[in-house]
């Protein structure tokens, strides 16, 4: 339905413009693009004062990877707000009914259709993904990697687990809610606790910076993975439940 809607609008717009104008537009845009590409290629290496600034302060950030240093030390306020935005997204899509809050986070069920290839594949793949995610998290201190990448990988493992059909996640369970907020909570707690030693929020003491960043990243990884899996869960409603909740959902939207 949505597809037809947008396509219909596109064809209307194309029909309203004469062919000559379209050709002129294409030529003008192509010329502008070519000029920009040529300018980019000719453009020499630019002056980048920020690179030198980060490099000169890297020693006191507690990590060796400049990207992680910027994200979690020099500009950690931005990352804190990013995690908060993710939590708001999670609050928007978390199931509203609380009648499942007594159930466990992960429940095992018998799938309607079994995919043996996927199951056998997942036996090998899931442990590898979890280990890779932990590696990305740990190596984020020195090499490319970090909480977002590790969390996304972990969420991919969760989605594959959901697709196999043997497990269901119930995001109203207390454990799930803890997972959803632990990233922001730990970030805020650490940010507030360092006021005691340095006097400024989120300004880590130099000796502890590496350890504090690792603690924040571990918590943020869990939260990011949980929120991304929650997004997938919110879209994937099982057929019987979809029929049962169908009329209620339409009223809300």
């Amino acid at each position: 339905m949505f597809n037809d809607l947008t396509l219909g609008r596109n064809t209307q717009q194309q029909a309203s413009l004469p062919a000559g104008v379209l050709i002129m537009l294409v030529l003008a845009i192509a010329a502008a693009c070519l000029f920009l590409i040529k300018a980019l290629i000719d453009f020499g290496p630019a002056e980048q004062p920020l690179v030198a600034l980060v490099a000169s302060n890297l020693a006191q950030s507690g990590v060796d990877n400049p990207v992680t240093a910027v994200l979690l030390n020099f500009r950690s306020y931005d990352t804190l707000l990013e995690v908060a935005v993710l939590l708001i997204v999670a609050l928007a899509v978390v199931p509203a009914s609380t009648d499942q809050s007594k159930l466990r986070f992960i429940s095992v069920s018998v799938p309607t259709e079994r995919s043996f290839v996927l199951e056998a594949f997942l036996r090998w793949l899931l442990p590898a993904i979890v280990v890779t995610s932990g590696y990305l998290l740990w190596t984020g201190a020195a090499l490319p990697g970090g909480a977002f990448q590790a969390g996304a990988l972990l969420a991919g493992a969760g989605i594959l687990l959901l697709l196999a059909g043997h497990h269901n996640f119930n995001f109203n369970a207390p454990a799930a809610r803890l997972l959803l907020v632990v990233g922001l909570a730990v970030f805020l707690l650490v940010g507030a606790a360092v006021i005691l030693s340095s006097g400024t929020a989120l300004a880590y003491p130099q000796a502890w910076a590496g350890m504090l960043i690792l603690i924040i990243e571990v918590a943020a990884t869990l939260t990011i993975a949980a929120i991304l899996v929650l997004l997938f869960c919110a879209l994937q409603v099982e057929p019987p439940r979809a029929k049962y909740e169908g009329p209620k959902k339409e009223e809300h939207s």
């Binding site: 339905m1 597809n3 990305l136 990697g145 994937q236």
Partner: protein
């Protein structure tokens, strides 16, 4: 005069733009989603060529992988 690296860069950039245009003009929703995922992978390679490894990993995991899964799940919801 034109080095091999420049050819690869132009192919990656051009390929990303072409897949983006194909994705926007695709008649079928599923086709559009697959083209979106392939565009994400091409953009990942472009980030690698630019030396932005952090962005490349994030783009591969979130841009190509998770967004694709979310889009396919949304399409299944729309079809119901």
């Amino acid at each position: 005069m034109i080095s091999g690296e420049l050819v690869i860069d132009l192919l990656l950039g051009g390929g990303a733009v072409v897949t983006a245009v194909l994705c926007l003009t695709a008649k079928d929703l599923f086709q559009a989603i697959l083209l979106f995922i392939s565009m994400g992978l091409l953009v990942t390679l472009a980030w690698v060529r630019l030396g932005a490894w952090d962005v490349a990993i994030a783009e591969a995991a979130i841009g190509a992988g998770l967004t694709g899964a979310l889009l396919i799940a949304t399409r299944r919801q729309l079809n119901q």
